[in-house]
């Protein structure tokens, strides 16, 4: 379509700029049927139609331009919208209402929308335009950066703001030795206060990115060791091969200026609440627009402007632009950073709460009103789990609780104090990208959207940056509950049952396979949720060999290959070392095997030896050697008993009052084959000094003068919990009997992946109830529980031994079915005299060197 031949009876609506905001504006127009009234045309300077600039960096990590595209032209074609890429508009003649294009063509308009966005600011220092200097804005910029980075080794970002740090991350991932230079005295000066900036700096330096703050570059000249040398105002300098400028944005207002539209003092096209400029047939939206003296450099306010302009054009007045919240939450180089409202505490009379933990490098600040009732702002560095709740207090002006500081204090039971979604007003903004309120979600649920997925589809909530997904789920669940809709406890779409239900069905009906269970009680063909859960139940009820033909497809990778998958797809091997006791001969075998196969070796937290870096095909040969030397599977891969940690007890220790070693070995051997809802760990201490730390385990045993004290349902992990004292001064036999009953009751009744601690908390009556069932046999189940456990004990087999004898099962371990070689992506480097997996950057460097 050539521009000069465009003819139409309808008034022309022309959009200049096809970035995220320009495209969103078109979507709004389409939604409101504007294409019936107007002939709509879009001009974009870039060769691509609109793409997702927020996720631009993902272009470096494998996404193609097509993946980032927001539209492929089909949408425009379908609604008869004319679009032109590679087309720059160079002048506006407002009197004639016509546009002049770089191609020489011109086009008249009735309504004009400027969505020209912004351009990166490059400080005008001498040398800023040398070769190998870049900005970070378009896909073409990224192509050029990637080409350059492949040839050099050092990169520097000028600008330590949000985008600068993201660019630094990209350079680091491209394998460059990376530095960041910030003119202000701290990183992210707009969003963070002094301490926050300092904590972030330390975290980023910990990631081997050099950070220079309060540093002004005076000139860039030829380097001696590298391509450039940057001379700083304080006389120091830095040599680098590649420079990336990310020193802020400036509104792209050249067209508007040239045509005499009203422009702000420091740039930006002045607009009113309808996004109308000083010319009532021209609108401006996004980063080129200046509203109330402010430029909004985020996509969400741009989208709101697009909505306001589209609504005004279509004659609605309810969507006026009234400013936007600039709070941000992001992960920069793996560090959590959050900033809300008045982060710099500039409000008259405001007060602050500050929490800082130098050990874990986290910093949190709340700025509250003079009377302490409202949240005005916040800064978070190191842990963003506090962000959502704080944002809701801020955005909705909710009264702070009495001990407001608890909102940023670490919570003793793991999760930060959360604001119940009940407390949110209907106007609360849940998704700021698409401006979806709690009321919108409630309406969607009432109109029949009964799942998070459906609500997303209807409202678009959580489809922008995705940061609100967890909150959205809570709101949806809450709305469903309020409607009296039962929130499903089904294990997945294939079984309308809980894990406990499935356990009972399998046990009572004597079901022996997944296929049989599915046929009798399920639908479809199963998934990664129900298959391992049923696999585990079948194993704990019948204790069949897990790699039998009918069970193999149920096993998660660790159970299928009887080893622990690590991040690079290799496996680690943990033979059983009951109680941590091992002979010198066996130690030598482990060392020899590790040496022969070049494995990384580490003592685990549970007193075993872990051998890392074995490939799939090596597993059987390694285990053949280990089994021959008397080792058996450690089941360290399964949801099963892992280790029984122990001290040496009365055998060696001058304080020990009982044989903790002997008891630990006995317990480990007794329960080693048990498949459970979650992994379980034991410990046995020989005296109350508690060297084995038994009170942090699912089952803890501590020797006393009178026998054994039994502790249950503690754990380490993400949410540590001390075990509860269950019974005291037990003899050996009673101790084992109680453990049998507790463990089997847990295995039969817990949910999938539910730890013993959570399971007990959820038992009505908690610890006391558990005591009644186990000690007083209130339910008359004690015999049955012991029998079930005895069956597991009697049918134990070393899965590796069985596997090595089974030709069919061994086929499972071939790296490739038709090729003898290994996986080229598995690359190790050396650190502290052992192997470790190469990082992405190291791999790219190795490939570059090889090339």
């Amino acid at each position: 379509m050539t521009i000069n031949r465009l003819t139409t009876d309808k008034p022309r609506l022309v959009v200049v700029g096809n970035g995220m905001v320009g495209h969103h504006f078109i979507e709004q127009l389409i939604e409101q049927g504007a294409q019936q009234q107007f002939a709509i045309y879009v001009f974009g300077e870039e060769p691509h139609l609109a793409y997702d600039r927020v996720h631009l960096s993902e272009y470096f990590t494998g996404k193609a331009a097509a993946d980032l595209a927001l539209t492929d032209g089909q949408l425009y074609d379908q609604h008869g919208i004319g679009y032109f890429t590679n087309s720059q508009v160079v002048a506006i003649d407002r009197d004639a209402k016509s546009l002049q294009l770089a191609s020489g063509d011109s086009l008249s308009y009735d309504l004009l929308v400027l969505a020209t966005g912004s351009y990166p600011f490059v400080p005008p220092m001498p040398g800023h335009d040398r070769d190998n200097t870049f900005v970070y804005r378009t896909l073409e910029d990224l192509d050029a950066i990637r080409d350059c980075a492949a040839k050099v080794s050092r990169g520097t970002v000028v600008g330590g703001g949000l985008l600068g740090l993201e660019a630094a991350n990209a350079l680091k991932n491209l394998g460059l030795e990376t530095s960041v230079i910030e003119f202000a005295p701290r990183l992210m000066p707009v969003q963070l206060d002094e301490t926050g900036g300092q904590v972030l700096k330390e975290m980023i330096e910990g990631l081997e990115v050099s950070v220079y703050t309060a540093t002004a570059t005076q000139e860039i000249i030829d380097g001696e060791q590298a391509f450039h040398r940057m001379n700083f105002a304080d006389g120091s300098h830095l040599e680098t091969d590649l420079i990336l400028f990310s020193a802020g944005i400036r509104p792209q207002d050249a067209l508007a200026r040239q045509s005499g539209l009203e422009i702000g003092e420091r740039g930006g096209i002045c607009v009113n609440n309808d996004c109308l400029t000083s010319d009532d047939s021209i609108y401006a939206i996004g980063e080129c627009a200046l509203w109330n003296g402010r430029i909004f450099g985020l996509v969400a306010p741009g989208y709101s402007m697009a909505k306001a302009a589209a609504a005004h054009i279509m004659g609605a007045s309810d969507k006026r632009f009234m400013g936007a919240d600039m709070s941000t939450k992001l992960k920069l180089l793996g560090c959590d950073v959050g900033s809300i409202g008045d982060a710099h505490a500039q409000t008259q009379g405001c007060k602050s709460f500050v929490y800082q933990d130098e050990l874990t490098q986290s910093y949190r600040k709340m700025v509250v009103s003079e009377d302490g009732k409202k949240l005005l702002g916040a800064v978070l560095v190191g842990d963003n789990s506090y962000y959502d709740t704080l944002l809701q207090y801020y955005l909705n002006g909710i009264d702070l609780p009495n001990n407001a500081q608890s909102l940023i204090l670490p919570s003793m039971d793991g999760a930060p104090a959360a604001l119940g979604v009940d407390a949110l007003p209907a106007t609360a903004s849940i998704c700021s990208c698409h401006n979806v309120s709690k009321q919108d979600i409630s309406d969607a649920v009432c109109a029949g959207a009964l799942s998070v997925g459906d609500v997303k589809g209807v409202t678009k909530a959580a489809t922008g940056c995705g940061g609100c997904a967890a909150l959205l789920k809570k709101v949806v669940d809450n709305e469903l509950l309020a409607l009296g809709v039962e929130v499903s406890t089904d294990i997945c779409e294939h079984f309308a049952y809980t894990r406990q239900d499935l356990y009972n069905l399998i046990k009572i009906e004597g079901i022996k396979s997944f296929a049989e269970l599915l046929q009798k009680h399920g639908k479809g063909h199963g998934c990664e949720i129900c298959k391992p859960a049923v696999g585990s139940i079948l194993a704990s009820v019948w204790n069949d060999y897990v790699l039998k033909k009918e069970h193999i497809g149920l096993q998660d990778t660790n159970d299928r290959f009887l080893a622990n998958m690590q991040k690079d797809g290799t496996y680690s091997i943990v033979p059983r070392i009951a109680g941590g006791e091992i002979t010198p001969d066996k130690l030598i075998v482990l060392g020899q095997v590790a040496k022969d196969y070049g494995l990384y070796t580490k003592i685990t937290g549970g007193q075993r030896i872990d051998l890392f870096g074995a490939t799939l095909a090596q597993l059987p040969e390694i285990w053949e050697k280990l089994v021959a030397a008397g080792f058996e599977t450690g089941q360290a891969y399964g949801k099963s008993l892992r280790t029984v940690k122990s001290c040496v007890g009365s055998t060696w220790c001058r304080y020990g009052v009982n044989d903790s070693m002997g008891m630990a070995i006995h317990l480990e051997n007794r329960y080693k084959g048990l498949r459970s809802p979650h992994k379980i760990k034991f410990a046995v201490s020989g005296c109350t000094r508690e060297c084995a730390e038994a009170q942090s385990k699912d089952i803890g045993v501590i020797a006393t003068e009178g026998g054994w004290n039994l502790y249950v349902c503690g754990n380490g992990g993400m949410k540590p919990r001390h075990a509860d004292l269950f019974a005291t001064d037990l003899d050996d036999e009673t101790l084992v009997k109680y453990i049998d009953r507790v463990l089997m009751f847990y295995t039969k009744t817990a949910d999938r992946l539910q730890r013993t601690s959570v399971w007990m908390e959820n038992l009505e009556g908690g610890l006391d109830y558990l005591k009644e069932v186990v000690i007083d046999d209130k339910l008359g189940l004690a015999d049955e529980l012991e029998r079930s456990m005895q069956h597991v004990v009697d049918t134990f087999q070393c899965e590796w031994k069985t596997t090595l004898e089974d030709e069919q099962a061994l086929k499972n371990f071939r790296q490739f079915v038709n090729y003898e070689g290994g996986d080229e992506n598995v690359v190790f480097v050396e650190e502290r005299n052992q192997i470790r997996p190469a990082t992405e950057a190291e791999k790219q460097q190795l490939i570059a060197k090889a090339g």
Binding site: G62, E493, H525, D568, K811, V817, N818, Y819, E840
Partner: protein
């Protein structure tokens, strides 16, 4: 288009995947007796976990669509289209595959 012999049917594992090499590229072959197509071929590379592991994931049938859940971080990839269910816009390469007289073939263009 040309059909390339990958392996024998008996080399496949019912209800699970195995890895194979196709012209220097790692692929994952899934044997799904219940599906109309019975055998699927997708790239073995998990673009999110960044490792060649998809052949070792669990088969999941979600809303009638056959997928594999990556063994690393559990994202689902459709066996037919390669589309990732959790990450909009992300998909992995797939190939046509067939079972014929006890042999497994994959199509190359």
């Amino acid at each position: 288009m040309q059909w390339k012999l990958m392996c024998e049917q008996q080399d496949l594992i019912e209800g699970a995947g195995i890895a194979a090499m196709l012209d220097g590229q790692q692929i994952a072959l899934f044997y799904v007796p219940e599906a109309k197509q019975q055998v699927f071929a997708i790239s073995n590379w998990d673009p999110i976990g960044k490792a060649n592991v998809l052949s070792r994931g669990l088969l999941a049938n979600l809303k009638e669509e056959w997928t594999v859940a990556s063994p690393l971080y559990k994202q689902h990839f459709e066996l037919q289209s390669g589309r990732c269910l959790e990450e909009e816009g992300l998909s992995i390469p797939t190939w046509q595959a067939k079972l014929e007289q006890g042999k497994v073939f994959v199509a190359v263009s």
